[in-house]
Symmetry: C2
């Protein structure tokens, strides 16, 4: 605890000046290989660790970025966070996580705190791609990247490609030979819902049946009841808007003696492990690759911080179909 070793200690122990010590450790300047080695060895022996604040004071960088989110539950933000961290730790950059709920005042406080800490950049994240965080991040003295949340028109925004993801899911059902596919999804006021429905309709035609409800297992249950009581044929494929709905659908089918995947194939969305892999049978579902999204967001904000040119606008990252058992043996299998 008492007095960390400073570069001054390293220098005197190695018998050189602090300038030489600094250059030796940073690989800059010219000096005998022997000198450089000796300094490095001494530094290692002393457990020298350069003071980030002194360094930051000089370079005007903190090697720190802030992640702002209103996803208090963390279901979307945590994978994004993991990706950011993974990408940036190699560059010695750490991440401040600030959960601001939906409170503008709390948001402002956290943004202020970040700016005080001289973050090199801020990543804004959320729980849906068509809502904004309750804070104004324009005109900040640091670069801002929006990941999985809506940003202003001229911002750098990264989102997952809902259309493409849904397209993959429905295409998979079609390739399995499913003929009558319905889409059970969440509330229509979600952009994700509309995008996924568009992809669905593009593949099955405008006659495709889209049932909008909530993001819950209950709604999945209820949707199955509705499909059965409507008198029409039971569909042989159900594309669900998220894994919870899919779980409800699968449970309801089982309760009614409809076999998944024999009688009906079910696809979910989100690849929320804790739901998808525990459902019986485990769900085939769409993964939004949030970790990759986070990685890209981290690298992008860093590039901006370093003044490198970055293309502005919305960048959509592809989703990926995760095949489990809720659709039966796939054509690729």
């Amino acid at each position: 605890m008492a007095g960390r070793t400073r570069i001054y200690d390293v220098a005197s122990a190695a018998g050189v000046s602090i300038a030489t010590a600094s250059r030796a450790l940073n690989g800059s300047g010219r000096m005998t290989a022997e000198t450089r080695e000796r300094v490095k060895r001494v530094a290692a022996e002393l457990g020298f660790r350069p003071n980030a604040m002194a360094r930051g004071l000089l370079s005007n960088r903190s090697f720190t970025v802030g992640l702002l989110t209103n996803d208090s539950y963390g279901r979307f933000t945590l994978p994004v966070m993991a990706g950011i961290s993974e990408a940036l730790i190699d560059c010695g950059v750490s991440v401040f996580l600030c959960a601001i709920e939906d409170d503008p005042a709390l948001g402002a406080v956290h943004v202020d705190a970040m700016l005080d800490k001289q973050v090199d950049g801020i990543i804004a994240s959320g729980k849906r791609i068509d809502r904004r965080l309750p804070v104004d991040l324009s005109n900040l003295p640091v670069p801002v990247v929006y990941a999985f949340t809506e940003g202003p028109a001229d911002s750098v925004t990264l989102v997952s490609d809902d259309f493409q993801g849904a397209h993959e899911a429905v295409e998979w059902l079609l390739r399995l030979g499913r003929k009558r596919i319905v889409h059970v999804t969440g509330p229509e006021n979600f952009a994700s819902v509309r995008l996924r429905a568009q992809a669905y309709r593009k593949l099955v035609g405008e006659g495709g049946e889209v049932l909008c409800g909530e993001w819950s297992e209950l709604w999945g249950h209820a949707a199955v009841e509705r499909l059965l009581s409507s008198g029409g044929d039971m569909p042989d494929g159900i594309f669900c808007g998220n894994d919870q709905i899919a779980r409800g659908v699968v449970d309801a089918c089982r309760e009614r003696g409809i076999d998944v995947p024999r009688d009906v194939s079910v696809v979910g969305f989100d690849n929320w492990e804790i739901v998808a892999s525990v459902t019986r049978p485990p769900l085939t579902t769409v993964d939004m690759n949030l970790r990759t999204l986070g990685r890209e967001a981290g690298l992008t904000v860093l590039a901006l911080a370093e003044g490198k040119p970055v293309e502005r606008g919305i960048r959509k990252l592809p989703c990926e179909l995760i095949v489990r058992e809720s659709c039966g043996a796939g054509p690729r299998a």
Copy 2:
């Protein structure tokens, strides 16, 4: 972006020296109330924000703490994180979140990064209270607090009180007049499982039936089947080790025509909203108050950082029973 305003700017704009400006803003030193006010007003107008690195360089504090976790999913860590953040933001302290999975190398990298950043303290957190993080945090130059994870013998450790929480749950069932209560819980190698079972047995006697399995809905389902096929009376109260098991139990009961809560009262554990409030009927369950745990952890690590005396050892924080509908109308209702 170009050149933040420094205290120098404030000083010259207010017509005082930087020393006076600094003292005016920090409320120290002696000066005319008028002078102090004027400096503050000018600082506000210029949007002055003291450079945290310069300040930290001097005070040898970063106003930063690190949160280390292997709970990649965030179910336990996120509430803890929210509590820490909530408690510390008022002191101007921000939180680095480092998700290290279970990788010792990654853990070491992140700890190094934190120390480089001169964190004022580290909070270690996890997903169970009887496992350690795969990193050695002893002999660090900064204080460490363990929250919801096991720490060394002489450490400061905060955990939720599993025994007390389970006691409340079973007591509730007894007060509702339930006579034959069983306990369906997770794997016996969890300390939480043993502690909760102890509390259960203390109340129902040594004859109490404890069914250990997994933390999954499937196990909840299976446990109900086992209870029914064993030939004995169906219990009228089931205390479950977590909300997922409880959900499985409730679902299985419904499938078999056993009414919850009329025929059997079910209590869960964790108050994991997304499961507890969506189960039909919504679960009465035990909340571990992880947010409060986080808040305490934050305040404690800060106290240590400031050299204040802190009692070492394990501190157990009380759980709280959240009453919903899976037990029927309560005696208090």
